[in-house]
Symmetry: C2
Subunit: 335 residues, 2 copies
């Protein structure tokens, strides 16, 4: 296992310690707890809290988006494992400013179970919560069963939209509805060329031949739609975009934001070559592109591969997307 680390069981705690050392101007631990990261950004009185939670190993997801204009808090689990309901509960309490908290997270069993318990616990104390699940991965379940889909890189757009809506003073129901509406227009599909290794496990999450790629694989190595011979970049972009288009048809006149997300080991050059083809296909279709996002937004440590996310915009989501944000891993200086 070729990783630059110390003891595998310290991997998450040491990463978290570094987050506070490096970004202590923006984030802090809740009561010194390294598994609950809180924003230090000053917030308006009564601002709705936006929280998430999930396993480690996906930086910048999840905790990298805690800060001004995005998340108020993030509970952090071990690599690829949900944090406990207890941590989520403490976080929700700490992020409530009297008008409730939106729990916005990927559709994974452990996270749902624990967030469910946490929300139930805080309701006893009259802290209202709403839950919005991210289910953007079109490859994880067929059309008609969208509710079973996993949440992947599209959640970064959801964090941005929810965070901006809350910063602009909207109510809990408004923030939740706006975020759900945005997610209804967000689709992602990914491919993987190589696995990653969970530090405490020490062996690859899956096996793949040197001339093959996994189409539709999840960010924890969940099986995709199929294994195929390695395609060219243009073929890959086309396959992804056509799959998304069948699920959420794009038409001339539409405006979208495109995210080309590297899973960890894939060079920026390759992400750009994919973006080039996506941009060309959309332009030929008469679809225009606003604020493209190209880089590493939701990773699986050293996995090679990428995902493409399409976010169909309307006037409100454009406004929320360009609203300022300042977090350790996402800065938008636009006004």
């Amino acid at each position: 296992m070729k990783k630059i680390m110390n003891q595998p069981e310290q991997f998450v705690d040491e990463t978290m310690e570094a987050i506070e050392l490096a970004y202590g101007d923006k984030v802090e631990f809740l009561n010194g707890d390294r598994r609950i990261l809180m924003s230090k950004a000053p917030a308006c009185e009564g601002k709705v809290g936006i929280v998430t939670a999930g396993g480690s190993g996906h930086l910048p997801v999840f905790l990298g988006y805690v800060g001004f204009g995005m998340l108020d808090g993030c509970a952090v689990g071990n690599v690829f494992a949900s944090p406990s309901a207890q941590k989520m509960e403490e976080m929700i309490r700490a992020c409530d400013r009297g008008n409730g908290v939106l729990c916005l997270y990927g559709n994974y069993g452990g996270d749902r179970l624990n967030f469910g318990m946490a929300c139930e616990a805080v309701e006893f104390d009259d802290i209202p919560t709403r839950t919005v699940l991210v289910t953007d991965d079109v490859a994880s379940s067929p059309k008609g069963e969208e509710g079973k889909r996993r949440g992947v890189a599209g959640m970064v757009y959801a964090f941005k939209i929810a965070g901006a809506a809350a910063a602009m003073g909207k109510s809990l129901d408004e923030v939740a509805d706006i975020t759900q509406s945005a997610l209804n227009r967000i689709r992602t599909m990914g491919i993987a060329l190589s696995p990653c290794i969970v530090p405490e496990v020490g062996k690859p999450t899956f096996q793949i031949e040197a001339d093959e790629m996994e189409i539709g694989m999840g960010i924890h190595g969940e099986p995709g739609i199929q294994v195929e011979k390695l395609k060219t970049a243009d073929e890959t972009a086309q396959l992804i975009l056509e799959t998304i288009d069948r699920d959420m048809p794009l038409e001339a006149g539409d405006e979208v934001s495109v995210m080309v997300n590297g899973l960890g080991a894939t060079p920026m050059e390759e992400l750009l070559i994919i973006y080039r083809k996506v941009h060309r296909m959309l332009t030929e279709k008469g679809v225009s592109i606003y604020m493209p996002h190209i880089g590493e937004f939701a990773t699986s440590m050293e996995m090679a591969g990428l995902s493409v996310t399409i976010f169909k915009l309307d006037k409100q989501s454009k406004e929320l997307l360009r609203y300022p944000a300042s977090t350790p891993f996402y800065t938008n200086a636009n006004k």
Copy 2:
């Protein structure tokens, strides 16, 4: 060769095309030439031009730093190959606003030769140039022979300092002297765990065993100081920091910026674990840290590994470091 690309010989052109498609609000090609990228940022009359050049395959270096507050232009070569003197000459001419151009680039034979010819050519037309070479890689040549050292991730700090000094209206000599003075206080050392593959070559740049690491390797796979058994993150950080400290002694009361730079395939979590140890060692020594940079700043495509750069600051370099910048891959919204 597991790369997401089309024809290897199109790798650079397609990457460049995507750069303009994605970041066309900030950058543009010079007369449509995909190998010369220019900033579209409005500049003050008479601003000194800052240019660089180098081979592809290192994104965000070099061209990712073209934009407001950093570079005015970048000439782009094939993967790991210098662009021609002709391209450099055209770029220098286009970046001169009457007060000359600083050529700021890594100390590599091809780049030196070609920039030398380009500067000679423009001098015939009375365009003054100054050259500052980046030689931050302590592992590439021993103390006393600093002039033979290669330029690696420290060049990003140099671009930032030079770009800010030029934006603030300083003269060519002032900008060159300030940048050289900053570089005298910048040191980098890297380690590699795996090679990368040049698309048109199709085989790894070097071989390394599964339990070994290369200490002091260059960003094109140039041999380092030695091959050793894989160290822990803390041992690695310590080895790098102690080597830098022997070359440029750090003392209690010093203030530094630290860059932990991923070479391509190394996860953010591992970069943070290295940062943690560097931060602790510096703090124990009484050295304080300003604006840490953790992420991918100068890569070798899919190479696994990292480098640590230490930039010893003074009042002026702090001011220039926090000056605003807006480029495709570097944004500083501080005021």
